[in-house]
Symmetry: C2
Subunit: 321 residues, 2 copies
Protein backbone atom coordinates (compact mmCIF):
# COMPACT_ATOMS: atom_id res chain seq x y z
CA UNK A 1 0.00 0.00 0.00
CA UNK A 2 1.48 3.32 -0.99
CA UNK A 3 0.80 6.72 0.47
CA UNK A 4 -2.12 8.74 -0.89
CA UNK A 5 -0.58 12.04 0.10
CA UNK A 6 0.03 14.91 -2.33
CA UNK A 7 2.61 16.59 -0.13
CA UNK A 8 6.02 16.40 -1.87
CA UNK A 9 7.77 15.88 1.49
CA UNK A 10 5.62 12.89 2.41
CA UNK A 11 5.89 11.51 -1.12
CA UNK A 12 9.69 11.82 -1.12
CA UNK A 13 9.98 9.91 2.15
CA UNK A 14 7.65 7.22 0.81
CA UNK A 15 9.55 7.02 -2.51
CA UNK A 16 12.85 6.72 -0.64
CA UNK A 17 11.35 3.78 1.25
CA UNK A 18 10.49 2.08 -2.06
CA UNK A 19 6.95 3.32 -2.78
CA UNK A 20 6.83 3.34 -6.60
CA UNK A 21 3.47 5.10 -6.76
CA UNK A 22 4.89 7.99 -4.72
CA UNK A 23 7.89 8.17 -7.04
CA UNK A 24 5.62 8.22 -10.08
CA UNK A 25 3.56 11.05 -8.59
CA UNK A 26 6.68 13.11 -7.86
CA UNK A 27 7.83 12.62 -11.47
CA UNK A 28 4.44 13.83 -12.71
CA UNK A 29 4.83 16.96 -10.58
CA UNK A 30 8.21 17.59 -12.23
CA UNK A 31 6.72 17.08 -15.70
CA UNK A 32 3.88 19.51 -14.99
CA UNK A 33 6.27 22.21 -13.73
CA UNK A 34 5.18 25.04 -11.43
CA UNK A 35 5.40 25.33 -7.66
CA UNK A 36 5.23 21.60 -6.91
CA UNK A 37 8.12 20.99 -9.32
CA UNK A 38 10.14 23.67 -7.54
CA UNK A 39 9.45 22.07 -4.16
CA UNK A 40 10.47 18.64 -5.45
CA UNK A 41 13.63 20.24 -6.88
CA UNK A 42 14.48 21.88 -3.55
CA UNK A 43 13.98 18.66 -1.61
CA UNK A 44 15.87 16.50 -4.13
CA UNK A 45 18.88 18.79 -4.39
CA UNK A 46 19.58 18.47 -0.67
CA UNK A 47 19.84 14.68 -0.88
CA UNK A 48 21.63 12.14 -3.01
CA UNK A 49 24.64 12.86 -5.16
CA UNK A 50 25.71 9.27 -5.69
CA UNK A 51 23.72 8.34 -8.81
CA UNK A 52 25.56 7.72 -12.06
CA UNK A 53 23.76 8.72 -15.24
CA UNK A 54 24.22 7.04 -18.62
CA UNK A 55 22.58 8.48 -21.73
CA UNK A 56 21.81 6.15 -24.65
CA UNK A 57 21.02 7.75 -27.96
CA UNK A 58 21.08 6.91 -31.66
CA UNK A 59 18.80 6.74 -34.67
CA UNK A 60 15.49 4.86 -34.37
CA UNK A 61 16.05 1.19 -35.17
CA UNK A 62 19.68 1.19 -34.01
CA UNK A 63 18.73 -1.10 -31.13
CA UNK A 64 18.91 1.30 -28.19
CA UNK A 65 16.05 -0.33 -26.28
CA UNK A 66 17.47 -3.81 -26.72
CA UNK A 67 20.84 -2.53 -25.53
CA UNK A 68 19.24 -0.72 -22.59
CA UNK A 69 17.31 -3.83 -21.62
CA UNK A 70 20.44 -6.01 -21.80
CA UNK A 71 22.36 -3.44 -19.74
CA UNK A 72 19.63 -3.46 -17.09
CA UNK A 73 19.87 -7.28 -16.88
CA UNK A 74 23.63 -7.09 -16.41
CA UNK A 75 23.42 -4.36 -13.73
CA UNK A 76 20.66 -6.28 -11.92
CA UNK A 77 22.77 -9.45 -11.94
CA UNK A 78 25.25 -7.41 -9.88
CA UNK A 79 22.54 -6.30 -7.48
CA UNK A 80 22.49 -2.68 -8.69
CA UNK A 81 19.18 -0.74 -8.64
CA UNK A 82 18.38 0.93 -11.94
CA UNK A 83 15.98 3.57 -13.19
CA UNK A 84 15.28 4.24 -16.86
CA UNK A 85 13.97 7.53 -18.24
CA UNK A 86 12.69 7.02 -21.78
CA UNK A 87 12.65 10.35 -23.57
CA UNK A 88 9.72 10.50 -26.01
CA UNK A 89 9.22 13.83 -27.71
CA UNK A 90 5.63 13.56 -28.84
CA UNK A 91 5.24 13.32 -32.58
CA UNK A 92 2.68 12.05 -35.06
CA UNK A 93 5.43 9.95 -36.64
CA UNK A 94 7.09 8.30 -33.68
CA UNK A 95 4.08 6.73 -31.97
CA UNK A 96 4.78 3.29 -33.41
CA UNK A 97 8.43 3.34 -32.53
CA UNK A 98 7.69 4.28 -28.94
CA UNK A 99 5.28 1.41 -28.41
CA UNK A 100 7.68 -1.01 -30.08
CA UNK A 101 10.53 0.15 -27.89
CA UNK A 102 8.66 -0.04 -24.64
CA UNK A 103 7.60 -3.64 -25.33
CA UNK A 104 11.25 -4.69 -25.13
CA UNK A 105 11.39 -3.36 -21.55
CA UNK A 106 8.54 -5.58 -20.39
CA UNK A 107 10.86 -8.31 -19.07
CA UNK A 108 11.88 -5.94 -16.27
CA UNK A 109 8.35 -4.81 -15.41
CA UNK A 110 7.99 -7.04 -12.35
CA UNK A 111 11.48 -6.42 -10.92
CA UNK A 112 11.25 -3.99 -7.96
CA UNK A 113 14.92 -3.09 -8.55
CA UNK A 114 14.01 -1.56 -11.91
CA UNK A 115 11.96 1.62 -12.35
CA UNK A 116 11.00 2.63 -15.91
CA UNK A 117 9.37 5.91 -16.80
CA UNK A 118 8.50 7.51 -20.12
CA UNK A 119 9.10 11.26 -20.11
CA UNK A 120 6.82 12.93 -22.63
CA UNK A 121 6.52 16.57 -23.54
CA UNK A 122 3.69 18.48 -22.01
CA UNK A 123 2.90 21.22 -24.44
CA UNK A 124 6.31 22.40 -25.57
CA UNK A 125 9.55 20.65 -26.51
CA UNK A 126 11.70 22.68 -24.15
CA UNK A 127 9.85 21.07 -21.25
CA UNK A 128 11.83 17.85 -21.54
CA UNK A 129 15.18 19.65 -21.36
CA UNK A 130 14.11 21.19 -18.07
CA UNK A 131 12.22 18.25 -16.60
CA UNK A 132 14.75 15.48 -17.30
CA UNK A 133 17.62 16.80 -15.13
CA UNK A 134 15.12 17.41 -12.32
CA UNK A 135 13.84 13.83 -12.71
CA UNK A 136 17.42 12.56 -12.50
CA UNK A 137 18.03 14.54 -9.30
CA UNK A 138 14.85 13.03 -7.84
CA UNK A 139 15.90 9.46 -8.73
CA UNK A 140 19.25 10.29 -7.16
CA UNK A 141 17.54 11.55 -4.01
CA UNK A 142 15.52 8.34 -3.60
CA UNK A 143 18.65 6.24 -3.93
CA UNK A 144 18.73 4.76 -7.44
CA UNK A 145 22.37 3.93 -8.14
CA UNK A 146 22.16 4.08 -11.93
CA UNK A 147 19.86 6.13 -14.14
CA UNK A 148 19.76 5.23 -17.84
CA UNK A 149 18.38 7.97 -20.06
CA UNK A 150 17.26 6.46 -23.35
CA UNK A 151 16.00 8.47 -26.30
CA UNK A 152 13.67 7.33 -29.07
CA UNK A 153 15.53 9.18 -31.82
CA UNK A 154 18.23 11.76 -32.39
CA UNK A 155 16.10 14.91 -32.53
CA UNK A 156 17.15 18.21 -31.05
CA UNK A 157 15.81 17.66 -27.55
CA UNK A 158 16.86 14.02 -27.39
CA UNK A 159 20.52 14.70 -28.20
CA UNK A 160 20.52 17.63 -25.77
CA UNK A 161 19.07 15.53 -22.97
CA UNK A 162 21.23 12.44 -23.57
CA UNK A 163 24.33 14.60 -23.89
CA UNK A 164 23.91 15.84 -20.33
CA UNK A 165 24.35 12.40 -18.80
CA UNK A 166 27.64 11.60 -17.02
CA UNK A 167 28.50 9.11 -19.77
CA UNK A 168 26.78 9.30 -23.15
CA UNK A 169 26.61 6.15 -25.26
CA UNK A 170 25.88 6.67 -28.96
CA UNK A 171 24.47 3.58 -30.68
CA UNK A 172 25.06 3.16 -34.41
CA UNK A 173 24.86 0.24 -36.86
CA UNK A 174 27.22 -1.10 -39.54
CA UNK A 175 27.05 1.18 -42.58
CA UNK A 176 26.50 4.32 -40.51
CA UNK A 177 29.60 5.95 -41.95
CA UNK A 178 28.38 5.53 -45.53
CA UNK A 179 24.89 6.91 -45.43
CA UNK A 180 24.52 10.63 -44.97
CA UNK A 181 22.50 10.95 -41.83
CA UNK A 182 20.97 13.82 -39.96
CA UNK A 183 22.51 15.16 -36.78
CA UNK A 184 25.70 13.12 -37.17
CA UNK A 185 27.76 16.09 -36.01
CA UNK A 186 25.59 16.45 -32.93
CA UNK A 187 26.13 12.78 -32.07
CA UNK A 188 29.91 12.96 -32.60
CA UNK A 189 30.02 15.88 -30.20
CA UNK A 190 28.28 14.19 -27.30
CA UNK A 191 29.60 10.61 -27.59
CA UNK A 192 31.74 9.29 -24.73
CA UNK A 193 31.37 5.67 -25.88
CA UNK A 194 30.38 4.46 -29.34
CA UNK A 195 28.50 1.18 -29.69
CA UNK A 196 28.21 -0.44 -33.11
CA UNK A 197 25.18 -2.62 -32.49
CA UNK A 198 24.06 -5.39 -34.89
CA UNK A 199 27.78 -6.03 -35.30
CA UNK A 200 27.05 -9.44 -36.92
CA UNK A 201 26.07 -7.55 -40.05
CA UNK A 202 28.24 -6.69 -43.01
CA UNK A 203 30.37 -3.54 -42.92
CA UNK A 204 31.10 -3.47 -39.20
CA UNK A 205 34.91 -3.21 -39.61
CA UNK A 206 34.61 -0.40 -42.11
CA UNK A 207 32.21 1.50 -39.88
CA UNK A 208 34.61 1.07 -36.95
CA UNK A 209 37.53 2.37 -39.06
CA UNK A 210 35.48 5.33 -40.33
CA UNK A 211 34.40 6.26 -36.81
CA UNK A 212 37.95 5.86 -35.55
CA UNK A 213 39.42 8.25 -38.09
CA UNK A 214 36.59 10.73 -37.65
CA UNK A 215 37.26 10.72 -33.91
CA UNK A 216 41.00 11.13 -34.37
CA UNK A 217 40.73 14.14 -36.66
CA UNK A 218 38.26 15.86 -34.38
CA UNK A 219 40.36 18.62 -32.89
CA UNK A 220 37.73 19.39 -30.30
CA UNK A 221 38.52 16.09 -28.54
CA UNK A 222 40.05 16.38 -25.11
CA UNK A 223 41.98 13.76 -23.19
CA UNK A 224 39.27 11.12 -23.67
CA UNK A 225 39.11 9.34 -27.02
CA UNK A 226 35.69 7.62 -27.18
CA UNK A 227 36.16 3.85 -27.44
CA UNK A 228 34.19 1.87 -30.02
CA UNK A 229 32.44 -1.27 -28.78
CA UNK A 230 30.80 -3.90 -31.03
CA UNK A 231 27.63 -5.53 -29.77
CA UNK A 232 24.80 -7.81 -30.82
CA UNK A 233 22.41 -6.67 -28.11
CA UNK A 234 19.62 -9.06 -29.15
CA UNK A 235 21.73 -12.05 -27.97
CA UNK A 236 23.55 -10.16 -25.21
CA UNK A 237 26.91 -10.16 -26.98
CA UNK A 238 29.28 -7.33 -26.04
CA UNK A 239 27.14 -5.85 -23.24
CA UNK A 240 29.81 -6.49 -20.62
CA UNK A 241 32.30 -4.64 -22.84
CA UNK A 242 29.96 -1.65 -22.99
CA UNK A 243 29.76 -1.55 -19.21
CA UNK A 244 33.56 -1.90 -18.92
CA UNK A 245 34.01 1.16 -21.15
CA UNK A 246 31.34 3.12 -19.27
CA UNK A 247 33.14 2.35 -16.01
CA UNK A 248 36.47 3.38 -17.56
CA UNK A 249 34.92 6.67 -18.63
CA UNK A 250 33.48 7.13 -15.17
CA UNK A 251 36.93 6.58 -13.65
CA UNK A 252 38.41 9.05 -16.13
CA UNK A 253 35.81 11.67 -15.20
CA UNK A 254 36.48 11.16 -11.52
CA UNK A 255 40.27 11.23 -11.77
CA UNK A 256 40.41 14.23 -14.07
CA UNK A 257 37.93 16.16 -11.94
CA UNK A 258 35.73 16.44 -15.02
CA UNK A 259 32.72 14.80 -13.37
CA UNK A 260 32.42 17.59 -10.81
CA UNK A 261 33.10 20.12 -13.56
CA UNK A 262 30.33 18.72 -15.78
CA UNK A 263 27.85 18.60 -12.96
CA UNK A 264 28.66 22.12 -11.86
CA UNK A 265 28.26 23.19 -15.47
CA UNK A 266 24.83 21.53 -15.62
CA UNK A 267 23.85 23.27 -12.39
CA UNK A 268 24.90 26.55 -13.97
CA UNK A 269 22.63 25.91 -16.97
CA UNK A 270 19.73 25.07 -14.67
CA UNK A 271 20.31 28.22 -12.61
CA UNK A 272 20.43 30.30 -15.80
CA UNK A 273 17.21 28.79 -17.03
CA UNK A 274 15.47 29.31 -13.67
CA UNK A 275 16.76 32.90 -13.55
CA UNK A 276 15.52 33.60 -17.08
CA UNK A 277 12.06 32.29 -16.20
CA UNK A 278 12.01 34.42 -13.04
CA UNK A 279 12.98 37.57 -14.94
CA UNK A 280 10.47 36.96 -17.72
CA UNK A 281 7.65 36.21 -15.29
CA UNK A 282 8.39 39.40 -13.34
CA UNK A 283 8.78 41.50 -16.48
CA UNK A 284 5.45 40.21 -17.78
CA UNK A 285 3.64 40.76 -14.51
CA UNK A 286 5.06 44.08 -13.28
CA UNK A 287 6.72 45.78 -16.24
CA UNK A 288 4.31 45.16 -19.10
CA UNK A 289 6.80 43.14 -21.17
CA UNK A 290 4.16 42.22 -23.73
CA UNK A 291 3.10 45.81 -24.41
CA UNK A 292 6.78 46.83 -24.59
CA UNK A 293 7.22 44.19 -27.30
CA UNK A 294 4.03 45.22 -29.10
CA UNK A 295 5.20 48.84 -29.04
CA UNK A 296 8.68 47.90 -30.26
CA UNK A 297 7.17 45.89 -33.10
CA UNK A 298 4.98 48.82 -34.14
CA UNK A 299 7.74 51.43 -33.83
CA UNK A 300 10.55 49.24 -35.25
CA UNK A 301 12.62 49.33 -32.08
CA UNK A 302 15.44 46.78 -31.92
CA UNK A 303 15.42 43.97 -29.34
CA UNK A 304 18.53 45.24 -27.53
CA UNK A 305 16.91 48.57 -26.72
CA UNK A 306 13.75 46.85 -25.44
CA UNK A 307 15.84 44.47 -23.33
CA UNK A 308 17.83 47.38 -21.85
CA UNK A 309 14.62 49.22 -20.98
CA UNK A 310 13.02 46.18 -19.33
CA UNK A 311 16.25 45.35 -17.51
CA UNK A 312 16.42 48.89 -16.09
CA UNK A 313 12.87 48.37 -14.83
CA UNK A 314 13.84 45.11 -13.11
CA UNK A 315 16.80 46.71 -11.32
CA UNK A 316 14.48 49.35 -9.84
CA UNK A 317 11.90 46.89 -8.50
CA UNK A 318 13.60 46.37 -5.15
CA UNK A 319 14.40 50.07 -4.64
CA UNK A 320 11.32 50.92 -2.60
CA UNK A 321 11.73 48.10 -0.11
CA UNK B 1 35.69 50.91 -54.83
CA UNK B 2 33.96 50.24 -51.54
CA UNK B 3 34.34 52.11 -48.29
CA UNK B 4 37.17 51.16 -45.94
CA UNK B 5 35.32 52.44 -42.89
CA UNK B 6 34.63 50.35 -39.80
CA UNK B 7 31.81 52.55 -38.58
CA UNK B 8 28.52 50.59 -38.78
CA UNK B 9 26.63 53.75 -39.82
CA UNK B 10 28.95 54.43 -42.74
CA UNK B 11 28.98 50.76 -43.70
CA UNK B 12 25.18 50.54 -43.65
CA UNK B 13 24.85 53.54 -45.97
CA UNK B 14 27.44 52.04 -48.30
CA UNK B 15 25.75 48.62 -48.22
CA UNK B 16 22.39 50.22 -48.98
CA UNK B 17 24.00 51.85 -52.03
CA UNK B 18 25.16 48.42 -53.25
CA UNK B 19 28.64 48.08 -51.69
CA UNK B 20 28.96 44.31 -51.19
CA UNK B 21 32.19 44.57 -49.19
CA UNK B 22 30.45 46.84 -46.69
CA UNK B 23 27.56 44.37 -46.41
CA UNK B 24 30.00 41.50 -45.84
CA UNK B 25 31.75 43.46 -43.08
CA UNK B 26 28.45 44.21 -41.34
CA UNK B 27 27.55 40.51 -41.46
CA UNK B 28 30.90 39.65 -39.88
CA UNK B 29 30.14 42.10 -37.07
CA UNK B 30 26.84 40.32 -36.48
CA UNK B 31 28.55 36.92 -36.45
CA UNK B 32 31.15 38.09 -33.94
CA UNK B 33 28.51 39.49 -31.58
CA UNK B 34 29.25 42.18 -28.99
CA UNK B 35 28.79 45.95 -29.17
CA UNK B 36 29.20 46.26 -32.94
CA UNK B 37 26.50 43.62 -33.45
CA UNK B 38 24.18 45.56 -31.14
CA UNK B 39 24.82 48.76 -33.10
CA UNK B 40 24.12 47.02 -36.41
CA UNK B 41 20.94 45.57 -34.87
CA UNK B 42 19.79 49.02 -33.70
CA UNK B 43 20.42 50.60 -37.09
CA UNK B 44 18.84 47.73 -39.06
CA UNK B 45 15.68 47.54 -36.96
CA UNK B 46 14.80 51.14 -37.77
CA UNK B 47 14.83 50.47 -41.52
CA UNK B 48 13.35 47.95 -43.92
CA UNK B 49 10.45 45.70 -43.13
CA UNK B 50 9.65 44.67 -46.71
CA UNK B 51 11.89 41.61 -47.10
CA UNK B 52 10.27 38.19 -47.45
CA UNK B 53 12.18 35.27 -45.95
CA UNK B 54 12.03 31.69 -47.24
CA UNK B 55 13.73 28.88 -45.31
CA UNK B 56 14.84 25.76 -47.22
CA UNK B 57 15.70 22.72 -45.16
CA UNK B 58 15.91 18.95 -45.57
CA UNK B 59 18.37 16.10 -45.20
CA UNK B 60 21.79 16.38 -46.89
CA UNK B 61 21.55 15.13 -50.47
CA UNK B 62 17.87 16.05 -50.85
CA UNK B 63 18.82 18.69 -53.40
CA UNK B 64 18.30 21.87 -51.39
CA UNK B 65 21.15 23.76 -53.04
CA UNK B 66 20.03 22.83 -56.54
CA UNK B 67 16.51 23.94 -55.63
CA UNK B 68 17.80 27.17 -54.10
CA UNK B 69 19.90 27.90 -57.15
CA UNK B 70 16.95 27.25 -59.50
CA UNK B 71 14.72 29.47 -57.33
CA UNK B 72 17.29 32.27 -57.50
CA UNK B 73 17.32 32.02 -61.32
CA UNK B 74 13.53 32.26 -61.43
CA UNK B 75 13.41 35.24 -59.05
CA UNK B 76 16.19 37.00 -61.00
CA UNK B 77 14.32 36.46 -64.28
CA UNK B 78 11.58 38.57 -62.66
CA UNK B 79 14.06 41.26 -61.68
CA UNK B 80 13.93 40.49 -57.95
CA UNK B 81 17.07 41.00 -55.81
CA UNK B 82 17.93 37.97 -53.71
CA UNK B 83 20.20 37.20 -50.78
CA UNK B 84 21.05 33.68 -49.62
CA UNK B 85 22.18 32.80 -46.10
CA UNK B 86 23.69 29.31 -46.09
CA UNK B 87 23.60 27.92 -42.55
CA UNK B 88 26.65 25.73 -41.93
CA UNK B 89 27.01 24.45 -38.38
CA UNK B 90 30.68 23.55 -38.31
CA UNK B 91 31.31 19.84 -38.14
CA UNK B 92 34.11 17.44 -38.98
CA UNK B 93 31.62 15.41 -41.05
CA UNK B 94 29.90 18.04 -43.12
CA UNK B 95 32.89 19.81 -44.68
CA UNK B 96 32.57 17.93 -47.96
CA UNK B 97 28.85 18.50 -48.25
CA UNK B 98 29.26 22.22 -47.69
CA UNK B 99 31.86 22.63 -50.42
CA UNK B 100 29.78 20.51 -52.79
CA UNK B 101 26.71 22.61 -52.09
CA UNK B 102 28.38 25.93 -52.53
CA UNK B 103 29.74 24.91 -55.94
CA UNK B 104 26.18 24.74 -57.23
CA UNK B 105 25.75 28.42 -56.34
CA UNK B 106 28.68 29.50 -58.50
CA UNK B 107 26.50 30.33 -61.49
CA UNK B 108 25.14 33.33 -59.55
CA UNK B 109 28.52 34.54 -58.30
CA UNK B 110 28.88 37.32 -60.86
CA UNK B 111 25.27 38.58 -60.65
CA UNK B 112 25.16 41.82 -58.59
CA UNK B 113 21.48 41.10 -57.87
CA UNK B 114 22.45 37.98 -55.87
CA UNK B 115 24.29 38.06 -52.53
CA UNK B 116 25.38 34.72 -51.04
CA UNK B 117 26.81 34.35 -47.56
CA UNK B 118 27.73 31.28 -45.51
CA UNK B 119 26.85 31.69 -41.85
CA UNK B 120 29.15 29.55 -39.74
CA UNK B 121 29.23 29.13 -36.00
CA UNK B 122 31.83 31.08 -34.13
CA UNK B 123 32.55 29.08 -31.03
CA UNK B 124 29.13 27.82 -29.99
CA UNK B 125 26.10 26.44 -31.81
CA UNK B 126 23.66 28.86 -30.22
CA UNK B 127 25.45 31.68 -32.04
CA UNK B 128 23.73 30.88 -35.33
CA UNK B 129 20.25 31.06 -33.80
CA UNK B 130 21.01 34.57 -32.60
CA UNK B 131 23.04 35.81 -35.57
CA UNK B 132 20.76 34.61 -38.40
CA UNK B 133 17.68 36.73 -37.54
CA UNK B 134 19.97 39.76 -37.12
CA UNK B 135 21.54 39.02 -40.52
CA UNK B 136 18.04 38.86 -42.05
CA UNK B 137 17.11 42.22 -40.51
CA UNK B 138 20.32 43.70 -41.98
CA UNK B 139 19.59 42.32 -45.48
CA UNK B 140 16.10 43.77 -45.07
CA UNK B 141 17.54 47.14 -44.09
CA UNK B 142 19.77 47.30 -47.18
CA UNK B 143 16.81 46.52 -49.43
CA UNK B 144 17.04 42.85 -50.47
CA UNK B 145 13.52 41.82 -51.46
CA UNK B 146 13.92 38.10 -50.82
CA UNK B 147 16.19 36.30 -48.38
CA UNK B 148 16.57 32.54 -48.83
CA UNK B 149 17.86 30.75 -45.73
CA UNK B 150 19.28 27.39 -46.76
CA UNK B 151 20.56 24.77 -44.31
CA UNK B 152 23.12 22.04 -44.95
CA UNK B 153 21.29 19.42 -42.91
CA UNK B 154 18.44 18.99 -40.46
CA UNK B 155 20.32 19.38 -37.18
CA UNK B 156 18.94 21.17 -34.15
CA UNK B 157 20.11 24.65 -35.05
CA UNK B 158 19.34 24.30 -38.75
CA UNK B 159 15.69 23.35 -38.22
CA UNK B 160 15.33 26.10 -35.62
CA UNK B 161 16.78 28.72 -37.95
CA UNK B 162 14.90 27.61 -41.09
CA UNK B 163 11.67 27.34 -39.10
CA UNK B 164 11.78 31.04 -38.29
CA UNK B 165 11.50 32.14 -41.92
CA UNK B 166 8.21 33.59 -43.14
CA UNK B 167 7.67 30.51 -45.33
CA UNK B 168 9.57 27.30 -44.61
CA UNK B 169 10.09 24.84 -47.47
CA UNK B 170 11.00 21.28 -46.45
CA UNK B 171 12.72 19.31 -49.21
CA UNK B 172 12.39 15.51 -49.21
CA UNK B 173 12.95 12.76 -51.78
CA UNK B 174 10.87 9.79 -52.94
CA UNK B 175 11.04 7.07 -50.31
CA UNK B 176 11.23 9.53 -47.42
CA UNK B 177 8.12 8.05 -45.82
CA UNK B 178 9.61 4.54 -45.71
CA UNK B 179 12.99 5.08 -44.13
CA UNK B 180 13.08 6.00 -40.49
CA UNK B 181 14.87 9.31 -40.40
CA UNK B 182 16.06 11.61 -37.68
CA UNK B 183 14.19 14.79 -36.84
CA UNK B 184 11.19 13.92 -39.03
CA UNK B 185 8.85 15.29 -36.39
CA UNK B 186 10.79 18.53 -36.26
CA UNK B 187 10.46 18.90 -40.04
CA UNK B 188 6.73 18.14 -40.04
CA UNK B 189 6.26 20.87 -37.45
CA UNK B 190 7.96 23.66 -39.36
CA UNK B 191 6.92 22.86 -42.97
CA UNK B 192 4.73 25.41 -44.77
CA UNK B 193 5.43 23.87 -48.18
CA UNK B 194 6.71 20.35 -48.90
CA UNK B 195 8.84 19.75 -51.97
CA UNK B 196 9.45 16.18 -53.16
CA UNK B 197 12.59 16.74 -55.18
CA UNK B 198 14.06 14.12 -57.56
CA UNK B 199 10.42 13.37 -58.39
CA UNK B 200 11.49 11.44 -61.51
CA UNK B 201 12.50 8.61 -59.18
CA UNK B 202 10.44 5.64 -58.12
CA UNK B 203 8.09 5.94 -55.17
CA UNK B 204 7.14 9.59 -55.60
CA UNK B 205 3.37 8.97 -55.54
CA UNK B 206 3.58 6.85 -52.42
CA UNK B 207 5.71 9.44 -50.66
CA UNK B 208 3.19 12.13 -51.60
CA UNK B 209 0.31 10.01 -50.25
CA UNK B 210 2.20 9.23 -47.02
CA UNK B 211 3.00 12.89 -46.47
CA UNK B 212 -0.57 13.87 -47.25
CA UNK B 213 -2.06 11.52 -44.68
CA UNK B 214 0.55 12.44 -42.07
CA UNK B 215 -0.36 16.10 -42.59
CA UNK B 216 -4.07 15.43 -42.39
CA UNK B 217 -3.90 13.53 -39.10
CA UNK B 218 -1.69 16.16 -37.50
CA UNK B 219 -4.08 17.85 -35.11
CA UNK B 220 -1.66 20.69 -34.51
CA UNK B 221 -2.30 21.96 -38.05
CA UNK B 222 -4.03 25.29 -38.28
CA UNK B 223 -5.89 26.78 -41.21
CA UNK B 224 -2.96 26.18 -43.57
CA UNK B 225 -2.48 22.65 -44.93
CA UNK B 226 1.06 22.52 -46.39
CA UNK B 227 0.89 21.79 -50.13
CA UNK B 228 3.14 19.12 -51.64
CA UNK B 229 5.04 20.10 -54.79
CA UNK B 230 7.00 17.67 -57.00
CA UNK B 231 10.21 18.93 -58.56
CA UNK B 232 13.27 17.81 -60.50
CA UNK B 233 15.40 20.79 -59.52
CA UNK B 234 18.42 19.67 -61.58
CA UNK B 235 16.47 20.34 -64.82
CA UNK B 236 14.35 23.17 -63.39
CA UNK B 237 11.11 21.19 -63.42
CA UNK B 238 8.50 22.31 -60.89
CA UNK B 239 10.37 25.39 -59.63
CA UNK B 240 7.59 27.74 -60.77
CA UNK B 241 5.10 25.61 -58.83
CA UNK B 242 7.22 25.96 -55.68
CA UNK B 243 7.19 29.73 -56.05
CA UNK B 244 3.43 29.72 -56.66
CA UNK B 245 2.88 27.84 -53.39
CA UNK B 246 5.28 30.11 -51.50
CA UNK B 247 3.35 33.14 -52.80
CA UNK B 248 0.05 31.50 -51.80
CA UNK B 249 1.41 30.93 -48.31
CA UNK B 250 2.61 34.50 -48.18
CA UNK B 251 -0.85 35.72 -49.15
CA UNK B 252 -2.38 33.45 -46.49
CA UNK B 253 -0.03 34.86 -43.82
CA UNK B 254 -0.88 38.42 -44.84
CA UNK B 255 -4.65 37.92 -45.01
CA UNK B 256 -4.87 35.98 -41.75
CA UNK B 257 -2.66 38.48 -39.92
CA UNK B 258 -0.33 35.60 -39.13
CA UNK B 259 2.69 37.26 -40.75
CA UNK B 260 2.65 40.13 -38.27
CA UNK B 261 1.94 37.66 -35.48
CA UNK B 262 4.92 35.46 -36.41
CA UNK B 263 7.25 38.43 -36.71
CA UNK B 264 6.11 39.86 -33.39
CA UNK B 265 6.66 36.43 -31.87
CA UNK B 266 10.20 36.32 -33.26
CA UNK B 267 10.85 39.80 -31.88
CA UNK B 268 9.66 38.54 -28.49
CA UNK B 269 12.16 35.63 -28.62
CA UNK B 270 14.97 38.02 -29.56
CA UNK B 271 14.04 40.39 -26.71
CA UNK B 272 13.96 37.46 -24.27
CA UNK B 273 17.35 36.27 -25.43
CA UNK B 274 18.85 39.79 -25.20
CA UNK B 275 17.30 40.22 -21.75
CA UNK B 276 18.70 36.89 -20.56
CA UNK B 277 22.20 37.85 -21.75
CA UNK B 278 21.89 41.22 -20.02
CA UNK B 279 20.82 39.64 -16.72
CA UNK B 280 23.53 36.99 -16.83
CA UNK B 281 26.24 39.52 -17.69
CA UNK B 282 25.16 41.76 -14.82
CA UNK B 283 24.83 38.87 -12.38
CA UNK B 284 28.32 37.68 -13.31
CA UNK B 285 29.87 41.10 -13.05
CA UNK B 286 28.15 42.58 -10.00
CA UNK B 287 26.57 39.74 -8.06
CA UNK B 288 29.19 37.00 -8.18
CA UNK B 289 26.99 34.55 -10.09
CA UNK B 290 29.84 32.09 -10.54
CA UNK B 291 30.69 31.90 -6.85
CA UNK B 292 26.96 31.58 -6.03
CA UNK B 293 26.88 28.56 -8.35
CA UNK B 294 30.09 27.12 -6.93
CA UNK B 295 28.68 27.51 -3.42
CA UNK B 296 25.36 25.94 -4.42
CA UNK B 297 27.18 23.00 -5.98
CA UNK B 298 29.24 22.48 -2.83
CA UNK B 299 26.29 22.88 -0.42
CA UNK B 300 23.74 21.03 -2.60
CA UNK B 301 21.46 24.03 -3.01
CA UNK B 302 18.82 23.68 -5.72
CA UNK B 303 18.87 25.93 -8.82
CA UNK B 304 15.56 27.64 -7.96
CA UNK B 305 16.90 28.95 -4.65
CA UNK B 306 20.07 30.23 -6.32
CA UNK B 307 18.02 31.91 -9.06
CA UNK B 308 15.74 33.56 -6.47
CA UNK B 309 18.75 34.87 -4.56
CA UNK B 310 20.45 36.27 -7.68
CA UNK B 311 17.17 37.76 -8.89
CA UNK B 312 16.67 39.55 -5.58
CA UNK B 313 20.17 40.99 -6.01
CA UNK B 314 19.33 42.25 -9.51
CA UNK B 315 16.16 44.00 -8.32
CA UNK B 316 18.19 45.94 -5.73
CA UNK B 317 20.84 47.16 -8.17
CA UNK B 318 18.98 50.31 -9.18
CA UNK B 319 17.86 51.17 -5.64
CA UNK B 320 20.71 53.50 -4.78
CA UNK B 321 20.36 55.66 -7.88
Amino acid sequence: MGTRSRDPRVLLDAASAGDRGALARLLSMIERGGDDARTVGRLSSAKGGTTYTVGLTGAPGAGKSTLTSATISLLRSRGIEVAVLAIDPSSPFSGGAILGDRVRMQEHATDPGVFIRSMATRGHLGGLSLATPEAIRLLDAVGREWVLVETVGVGQVEVEVAGKADTTVVVVNPGWGDSVQANKAGLMEIADVFVINKADREGVERTARDLQSALEIDEAMGAWLPPIVKTVASIGRGIEDVLVEVEKHRAHLLESGELAERRRDHLRLRVESALKQRVLATASEHLGLQSEIDGAFRDKVDPYTVADRVFAGVTRLGGGE
